[in-house]
């Protein structure tokens, strides 16, 4: 019996060798895969409007991508393999490019600056089960759909507006003056419409000193905004409240000058007015507008590093929202990859959900996501254009300059 047992236990057959080898291979492969994932790169599909009406901003976001690799390496993050995609400023193209990127092997998607395009990409990412980190898009509904693979490190329209009104009141108090009336001009795309809805809901809670005397919606791809500005001017409002894009912000400024209307203040709650292309195209005419936007905390060490990296890679460009939030989206992806130790979509999504990055750039306590995939702890700033540069004028804790109020009239700028 013993002999048999011994004999049986010790007998090494071809079958046991095969089984043993198989078991050891299986046992060995799992950790080996994890290790290999650490050594490998994560394929990140970056979708941006690189052509079309939003090309200027899309390419500005790309500058954030350009400087990410070196900074992520310094932070000890695993390398990312960037796959570039162009949404052509079109919702439909954004959707099809997202599908193509996933079929080409993208393991995480990042982008796409615009709410409409980001909504389309979010739908694709959720269907295919691929994590999607939004860099810039404010329409609240994107993170209200119960998606499991969609994450946003950017404030919603409601968050932007709440901070904007709070910062405006702080500025009015500091200046000792405030507009009594304002005309609201906004783009009629997903973002602009969401912001319009948000203003209706949020503004009454802040008891603002001004009333909105007129709301003017316009097409962001319009080539001529003379009628829109004439209509706004005819209201005789003290201030111009804006939700715009880049090209239309330039067109509107040109029309303000030509139609000889200098409002007391231009209060922008969207992109356009602080972009480098706006500053360079309009020169001294770009001075004065106040933008109430997701920005960066100049006091955070990572902000200084990002600023230096941008200055080195793209001299002459001011660090702005586009660079900051595109970089942070890639930081979120790299950080999740590092912790997940895998390129598996579910593991990556779980890791992103557990994100807790405090060494970051944007204002607020850091990058964390709530159960909806939204970073709801972000804070916004008020910035003003001054001599081709951007200064932070509110909130006080993040300010590095006092507000210039009212705006110097366009016809008195020499």
């Amino acid at each position: 019996m013993n002999r048999k047992l011994d004999s049986g236990d010790n007998r090494t057959t071809r079958r046991t060798v095969t089984a043993g080898l198989g078991a050891s291979v299986v046992a060995g492969i799992a950790p080996f895969n994890i290790l290999r994932a650490q050594d490998a790169t994560l394929k990140v599909g970056v979708l941006l409007p690189r052509s079309g009406a939003q090309a200027g901003i899309g390419q500005d976001c790309q500058r954030g991508v350009d400087i990410a690799a070196g900074l992520l390496k310094d932070l000890g993050m695993p390398p990312l393999q960037i796959m570039n995609g162009d949404t052509e400023t079109s919702v439909e193209v954004a959707r099809s490019r997202a599908e193509k990127m996933i079929s080409d092997g993208a393991q995480v998607l990042v982008g796409a600056f615009d709410s409409g395009q980001s909504t389309a990409i979010a739908q694709v990412a959720e269907q295919k089960g691929i994590p999607y980190v939004i860099n810039i898009a404010a329409a609240p509904q994107i993170t209200e759909q119960g998606y499991k693979f969609v994450f946003r490190n950017f404030p919603t329209a409601g968050m932007i507006l709440a901070d904007a009104f709070a910062n405006q009141k702080e500025i009015f108090e500091a200046a000792g003056a405030a507009p009594k009336t304002a005309v609201f001009m906004h783009v009629n795309d997903t973002f602009g419409t969401a912001m319009k809805g948000g203003i209706g809901a949020v503004m009454p809670k802040f008891n603002m000193p001004y009333n909105l005397v007129e709301t003017i919606a316009y097409d962001p791809t319009s080539r001529d905004l003379s009628v829109e500005v004439a209509k706004a001017k005819a209201t005789g409002a003290d201030a111009l409240l804006m939700v715009s894009r880049l090209n239309d912000a330039i067109l509107i400024t040109r029309e303000l000058v030509k139609q000889r209307w200098s409002p007391m203040a231009i209060l922008s709650m969207g992109p356009g007015w602080y972009e480098d292309q706006y500053l360079k195209t309009l020169g001294k005419l770009s001075d004065g507008p106040l933008s109430f936007v997701p920005w960066y905390d100049p006091n955070k060490p990572m902000s200084k590093k990002l600023d230096e990296a941008l200055a080195k890679a793209h001299p002459g460009f001011n660090l702005n929202t586009n660079h900051v939030y595109t970089f942070e989206a890639l930081l979120v992806a790299a950080d999740a990859f590092k912790r997940a130790r895998s390129t598996d979509a579910k593991a990556l999504a779980d890791a992103i959900r557990q994100t807790n990055i405090t060494d970051n750039v944007s204002p607020g306590p850091g990058i964390q996501f709530n159960e909806k995939g939204q970073n709801d702890k972000l804070k916004d700033s008020a910035i003003q254009n001054r001599g081709g540069k951007l200064v932070t004028v509110a909130p006080k804790v993040a300010a590095n300059a006092k507000v210039e109020w009212p705006m110097t009239p366009y016809d008195k700028r020499g």
Binding site: G52, A55, A217, L251
Partner: protein, 289 residues
């Protein structure tokens, strides 16, 4: 709102409409004589705008002064295009002509994208931000110059077709193709000249548009569509109709934006198109077939 704003907006609409009308005039001339619809019209306009931008950026030359040379370049391009590419398609089915010109449009747009990239480009002349005060009117200087130049170019074209032998010969080709051949006119050459003239109109309009609006490579299709709307409203093949259609569309878009909402400018423009197609299908100045 005071009445001044209506006047200001209407004047702005007229001036913009004049430039659009000149662009559409090229389309109308080509169709009126050759009976070929130029689906690359908008892209040719964009090429002219880029020429204006490049000449301004590199040599500091004002687009208004460069209007004639740019029109000359587009004339040569249009002449060559008709002579060697479109002419073999003259007697082929319309869908062949359509595909050919769409292909030309796509090649032009992508060529511009390769050369200039997707960024919007503009011309910043010394008078880019100027405006004239005429009583209660504030007139945009660039639009005023562009509108006046459009009138001058259109007048020159009318004079050419009415007062010169070559113009009369081209009109003969348009009126009776077979008759023109019978009396010994060199119809292929006259067709190429006509296409060249149409392209020259586009060149002049493009140079002026560069003053009024930024240019990007994908702008072409919207210009083509606008030119179509204008010539259909004004009357396909009618030269006065193209200018009048441009003014009408410019004013309607401007006033619709003012009286209703700017977002609905396009809706009103296309509503006018539908009304014209329903009640006067030949267009306001067109002749019934």
């Amino acid at each position: 709102m005071s009445t001044d704003i209506y006047l200001n907006v209407a004047v702005s609409g007229v001036l913009t409409g004049l430039v659009y009308g000149l662009m559409a005039l090229g389309l109308s001339v080509i169709f009126g004589v050759i009976r070929v619809v130029n689906f690359a019209h908008g892209e040719m306009t964009t090429v002219a705008m880029y020429l204006a931008v490049v000449l301004f950026a590199t040599l500091g030359l004002d687009p208004l002064l460069m209007m004639v040379p740019i029109a000359g370049v587009l004339f040569v391009f249009g002449y060559a295009l008709q002579r060697w590419l479109i002419n073999p398609f003259i007697n082929r089915p319309e869908h062949s002509q359509f595909i050919l010109l769409v292909a030309v449009a796509i090649i032009l747009a992508n060529g511009l994208l390769i050369v200039f990239g997707p960024d919007a480009r503009s011309v910043q002349t010394s008078y880019a931000f100027d405006s004239f005060m005429i009583g209660p009117l504030i007139v945009d200087a660039t639009k005023a110059f562009a509108g006046l130049a459009a009138i001058a170019v259109a007048a020159a074209l009318f004079a050419f077709f009415r007062l010169t032998q070559l113009g009369t010969a081209i009109r003969a080709c348009a009126d009776n193709y077979t008759g023109a051949q019978v009396i010994g006119l060199n119809v292929p050459r006259l067709y190429a000249l006509t296409f060249g003239l149409g392209a020259a109109c586009v060149g002049a309009a493009g140079a002026m548009l560069a003053l009024v609006t930024d240019v990007t490579p994908p702008l072409g299709p919207s210009f083509t569509l606008l030119a179509f709307v204008i010539v259909i409203v004004g009357g396909l093949g009618s030269m006065p109709g193209a200018l009048a259609g441009g003014i009408l569309i410019g004013v309607i878009a401007a006033l619709a934006g003012l009286l209703y909402t700017p977002s609905a400018k396009g809706m009103f423009v296309f509503a006018i198109l539908v009304l014209v197609l329903l009640f006067r299908p030949q267009g306001i100045f067109g002749r019934r077939a």
